[in-house]
Symmetry: C2
Subunit: 400 residues, 2 copies
């Protein structure tokens, strides 16, 4: 409640001051980060892990830019979502308000510290940050730097809190305190998120994984189908909105699959096919049941030939993760069937699933992606970390 009393102007000024302070203390942050990196290397941690943990001039400047762009976004707090008058004269206004305190639990990616602090502050929420213990020196340094000037703008330092102990118990304690924290957003791999969701006494908004599908319908424009297949699989295979499974209508499989296989092979993608696929693409590996559930996050693609759009829908609803799924077709009726029938956060027609992203959606930010159906679904930005309250304005009305 303290934060929502701070004016939009002061919250924006604080965000810009946070950005400036990051820039001014760039060397200090790099120094602390180097400690984390060297500890992680000594432990023999993997290359991609070290890469995500490492900060550079460039990356810190990215964090600075992110805070500045958040400052420039419209303030969601105070927006009148809806208002209406009752026959008895009562005026009811549904007004957007902050949620309260948001707990962010993330892996060893130091940039999340300032990104999430900025989004919470902008939306009038206090936050409790808890990053992976391997990045603790970096996170504490970033936290120290960005909270330095908060009080100048009437914002208590506690509005951006960080858990500064390494023990995992600290997370468990945080998750057992619904009286202090209103919402938990976990960011990271499936293991982290399942751990958090499994023990939290506080509402959690999350997605476990992105097992995204692309269905090439009988009435697809094959040129578009090919370019979208490549884009959705290859452009950045390690992210949740890349496709893991390609479904192809049986009537178009012979025309499409060899071309697609050729292009995918050039892009170093390994294919794993169903029996019908393997009749067309001789020599590729067979897909087993496990493949249909797999989030490869790598240059691997499972391929299945289906009878029609209904089989595609059933398959996606069964094996998918309700994240992002696409159909390529020129047939409006089939498109509508797919758009209605697929029970996912984002359902695409003739476009790449790679657009599931707060910035690509034009939300100006992204604090996470939800495959849940409670509160928020799909890319989450500022509005998604707000609540509302009703203001009821009368002139003496009583209930009879």
């Amino acid at each position: 409640m303290v934060l929502s009393a701070v004016s939009t102007k002061d919250r924006n000024k604080a965000l810009l001051a946070m950005a400036d302070s990051l820039l001014k203390n760039l060397r200090y942050i790099l120094l602390c980060n180097a400690r984390d990196v060297s500890r992680a290397k000594k432990k023999g941690t993997s290359g991609p892990f070290i890469d995500r943990l490492s900060l550079t001039n460039e990356r810190i400047k990215g964090m600075v830019e992110s805070l500045r762009s958040v400052a420039a976004l419209k303030d969601p707090v105070g927006e009148i979502i809806k208002e209406w008058k009752r026959p008895n004269g009562l005026l009811i206004k549904k007004v957007r308000v902050p949620i309260g305190v948001i707990g962010i639990i993330y892996e060893a990616r130091p940039n999340v510290t300032s990104d999430c602090a900025g989004l919470c502050l902008k939306s009038g929420n206090a936050c409790v940050l808890r990053g992976g213990s391997d990045s603790i020196s970096s996170n504490l340094a970033i936290h120290e730097v960005i909270t330095k000037d908060l009080e100048r703008f009437g914002i208590p330092k506690a509005a951006v809190s960080i858990i500064d102990v390494k023990e995992r118990r600290a997370v468990d304690f945080l998750l057992s305190a619904p009286e202090f924290v209103d919402l938990i957003i976990p960011r990271g791999g499936e293991g982290l998120i399942r751990h958090v969701a499994g023990i939290s006494r506080i509402p959690v908004i999350k997605h476990y994984k992105g097992v995204c599908h692309l269905y090439i319908d009988k009435y697809a424009d094959l040129k578009k189908a090919l370019s979208i297949t490549l884009n959705a699989k290859v452009q950045r295979p390690g992210v949740c909105n890349a496709i893991e499974t390609l479904l192809v209508h049986k009537d178009i499989a012979k025309a499409f699959l060899p071309k697609a296989a050729h292009a995918l092979k050039e892009a170093k993608v390994e294919l794993r096919g169903c029996p019908k696929t393997r009749q067309i693409l001789k020599g590729i590996k067979g897909a087993v049941e496990k493949d249909w559930y797999a989030e490869y996050l790598a240059l691997i693609l499972a391929v299945k030939v289906v009878d029609d759009v209904q089989e595609a829908i059933r398959f996606i609803n069964r094996y998918g993760s309700s994240h992002s799924d696409a159909i390529i077709t020129k047939n409006k009726k089939i498109a509508d069937e797919f758009l209605k029938g697929v029970d996912s956060a984002c359902v695409y027609l003739n476009a790449s699933t790679r657009f599931t992203d707060g910035y690509q959606f034009g939300l100006g930010a992204e604090i996470g992606i939800s495959t849940d159906k409670i509160h928020a679904r799909g890319p989450m930005a500022l509005e998604e970390i707000t609540s509302y309250k009703y203001l009821v304005l009368g002139s003496g009305q009583i209930r009879t």
Copy 2:
């Protein structure tokens, strides 16, 4: 997903058929209800409990009416909440969809069985109903009667399910199955709701209790203040939106309190005052700390004199239950301070808190009231038991 494929028309026809079937089987339901009531009486259950458990011709007709009015409401499913075009030509539509499966856990009030089944069906959600074990014969009879004709409209019977065993373990099992149920709405007393929220692995939307406040400001219209005080306390003291605490500005206390006390005494309301109140209203009982937290649900009112609106706001945010709180004032600045500062689902200006209700708000229904800030807050009707998905319509867009 099965239910959302059923057309609006067929869902409405099914609701009307449910209503007709209730009416046709009125005697059967009364018979089953009589068994519940006689069992409860033998156990020596309290009068108000028996009253809530008992069905009459009148009450069943109320349930029939409720189903018919829900059939007449606008279908929330499929509504385009928002749509916008991106610079790359992608058209993004945010479309309202059902949540999926909603578990309703309630006390021995048989009418909730058909009321909630109707609201879930209308909004395309399947439901799992679990009423208090003392009303099991009534609930099973109502369930049998309302699901009889569902299949005629393409709706599987399982879309309206009921847990037909008496053991409490059944609830615990339901609450531990997030893979089958998407949302839990508990309806009943604080004990039931705390039990549910304490063990659920599924998101719960709830309010524990209604400790509502009325603050009479220094600039109040005293006539309105008096009529709203009486209405908010006396019109129906046993409900969650009745007030439990009256706050009065110190400068107006001497003018207002004696009048209010007189009228409240006539209405048989017992007052419990803070020391300053007791200087004005000699002889009333003193309020202790516990009183400020109390949800009396009875003709008892705690009274406190406060220094100003800021003290009133702090007091409400500390002792209230974030449900419904009101200010009576003619001063716009003070009104705005209160409306902004009180962190409750519904904040009133110059009106009775008794309006916190789906019907009074004009929502046409009410499946519960939430004091949470995730997903839904305040009175919940059809929209509040929906989610959304994004449809992203392209013409070959890929991400670069």
